[in-house]
């Protein structure tokens, strides 16, 4: 089967319904995929841009908790790109409770509860994607691999150092890349046979033959002891049943510009991923030949730096103003951020419409949308004091939540 024809028969389901507890308080008012990222983007823009550039143009986004900001972003920035007349769509699907009178109990349950969508669309292949990963992937290559292996399921994988693999689903493969063992979050991850230092981990991106997917999620839904999770339950069951489950190792099959992958699980990983973007030689480039990451941007004027503002190694988004005498170093300023006179802001992520007052001093701070920091305020200097007011991560990053009253 030709890839282009297979692509036309591929539908994506983007899982965007998680609570995002570990990213709290950034997820206080919005689902994780709607959390701003990289200055002008929202996390879900990365997965959707991959779909767009790969030619996957039938997309269901399965939403659940706190979905309004996500819905609005998709409506403003994405839905109109897909033409109904051509059979394309991007539709958000909140839980319909048609099959089960409950919210989604896990990733596999989210798909199970929506199998009627698959009956209606009748795709031949279904891509299960996460709405909270930062990476680039040409899903056409994944599909080619899937066809070449005559697979029932293909799991996108990458390698990480063995000591870091315990928080992921770890795979054991044979010489043909067929998965022969799958363990979710094992205490002692098995390394690759040809490299004892690294383990092969699941990225939580799956390409299924539709019938395999439907059978698997139905079988899983009938099990009372299941967590209804692809990684914990569905994939291990399919491997145990001898289904043709294959590992698509991105480090083996894709060029280096596609090797970056970050599951934005915690506030520290959110922060680190941003600091990596600012690196002189970033592991993840926002612009390359695969195509730009799309987003929705409100119509704002260009960023303005007053005459004695000092800005170094930073992202400045439209609508930003940096006043006289202010210093901005190694920061990401989202749209509409204003830095007051003589304020000093270093190693910070300031989300849309944050206002930093005159003479304020911030170090390693994430300020959520519309936070208003008073003149002279100091955050990230005295962590003892900050701990009494704010969330402070293990690595000492201070989070100032939306609505905080100083």
């Amino acid at each position: 089967m030709r890839t282009e024809s297979a692509l036309a028969q591929t539908l994506a389901m983007v899982l965007a319904g998680g609570v995002g507890e570990r990213l709290y308080p950034l997820t206080k008012a919005k689902a994780k995929p709607a959390v701003p990222f990289g200055g002008i983007y929202r996390i879900i823009d990365f997965t959707l841009s991959n779909c767009l550039h790969s030619g996957v143009r039938r997309i269901f986004v399965l939403t659940q908790h706190k979905s309004l900001p996500l819905d609005r972003h998709l409506w403003q920035g994405w839905s109109f790109l897909f033409r109904t007349e051509l059979g394309e769509f991007l539709v958000t699907v909140p839980p319909q409770q048609r099959l089960v009178r409950e919210w989604y109990r896990g990733t596999a349950d989210a798909v199970f509860q929506n199998i009627d969508l698959l009956s209606h669309e009748r795709p031949r292949f279904v891509l299960i994607l996460a709405g909270d990963h930062v990476y680039r992937m040409d899903y056409r290559t994944l599909l080619q691999f899937h066809l070449a292996k005559n697979a029932a399921v293909t799991i996108a994988c990458t390698t990480v150092p063995v000591h870091d693999a315990s928080r992921f689903g770890v795979m054991e493969v044979d010489a043909d890349d067929r998965i022969v063992g799958f363990e979710e979050k094992p205490p002692h991850p098995k390394p690759l046979p040809d490299n004892p230092n690294v383990a092969l981990i699941s990225m939580g991106i799956y390409l299924f033959n539709t019938e395999t997917l439907v059978r698997a999620v139905i079988q899983d839904a009938k099990r009372r002891d299941s967590h209804h999770d692809f990684g914990k339950n569905v994939i291990p069951a399919l491997v145990a049943q001898g289904e043709r489950v294959f590992a698509f190792n991105i480090r083996k099959w894709l060029p280096p510009s596609f090797h970056y992958w970050q599951d934005i699980g915690t506030l520290d990983s959110y922060y680190e991923a941003h600091m990596e973007l600012l690196h002189p030689d970033p592991p993840f480039a926002l612009h390359d030949e695969f195509g730009a990451i799309r987003t929705y941007l409100p119509p704002l004027p260009p960023a303005l730096l007053r005459s004695h503002a000092a800005v170094r190694q930073s992202f400045l988004s439209p609508g930003c103003v940096v006043e006289d005498g202010a210093v901005v170093e190694n920061c990401l300023l989202s749209p509409g951020v204003r830095i007051g006179k003589e304020a000093v802001v270093r190693h910070c992520i300031l989300l849309p419409r944050v206002f930093v007052g005159r003479g304020a001093h911030l170090e390693r701070v994430i300020a959520d949308e519309e936070v208003n920091l008073p003149d002279g305020e100091q955050i990230g200097i005295d962590l003892e004091r900050d701990l009494r007011r704010f969330t402070v991560t293990e690595k000492g990053v201070v989070i100032v939540p939306t609505g905080f009253v100083f």
């Binding site: 099959l99 199998i115 009956s119 439907v214 059978r215 839904a221 009938k222 099990r223």
Partner: protein, 127 residues
């Protein structure tokens, strides 16, 4: 061993009676429901081992009842017994363990019931 109890959900009186007679003659106990609502009522208080389910019924269809059965009794063996093979295209029908297209003499139904009950016993013994 106690007789296995089969719930036959079928709106057509003649067909329902025919299936019940066949099943009774084969040594099963039968319960009858003329609609999905009646079936749900029986499911809430009767002990049932297997369900034979029609799809096309007035009111709630068999395909709508199927997820409810699954919700109330996960693992309950269900045989869809319908005149229309095209219902198989609806993935919700895959929730059933078997899908049989009706024939005038209820052929295939007894074999399916027997096979599913054996499978269920196997699972129980296996545990």
């Amino acid at each position: 061993m106690a007789k296995a109890r089969i719930l036959v959900v079928e709106d057509d009186d003649k067909q329902r009676q025919l299936y019940c007679e066949e099943l009774t003659a084969a040594g099963y106990a039968t319960l009858e429901a003329r609609s999905a609502q009646e079936a749900e009522e029986l499911l809430s208080h009767e002990q049932i081992d297997l369900i034979v389910l029609d799809i096309n019924m007035p009111g709630i269809s068999g395909l709508e009842l199927l997820p409810r059965i699954h919700e109330i009794h996960p693992g309950m063996p269900v045989i869809i017994h319908t005149a229309y093979g095209s219902y198989r295209d609806d993935f919700i029908s895959w929730l059933a363990d078997m899908f049989i297209v009706k024939s005038p003499d209820a052929g295939g139904l007894l074999e399916a019931v027997e096979e599913l009950l054996n499978r269920k016993r196997g699972v129980t013994l296996g545990q």
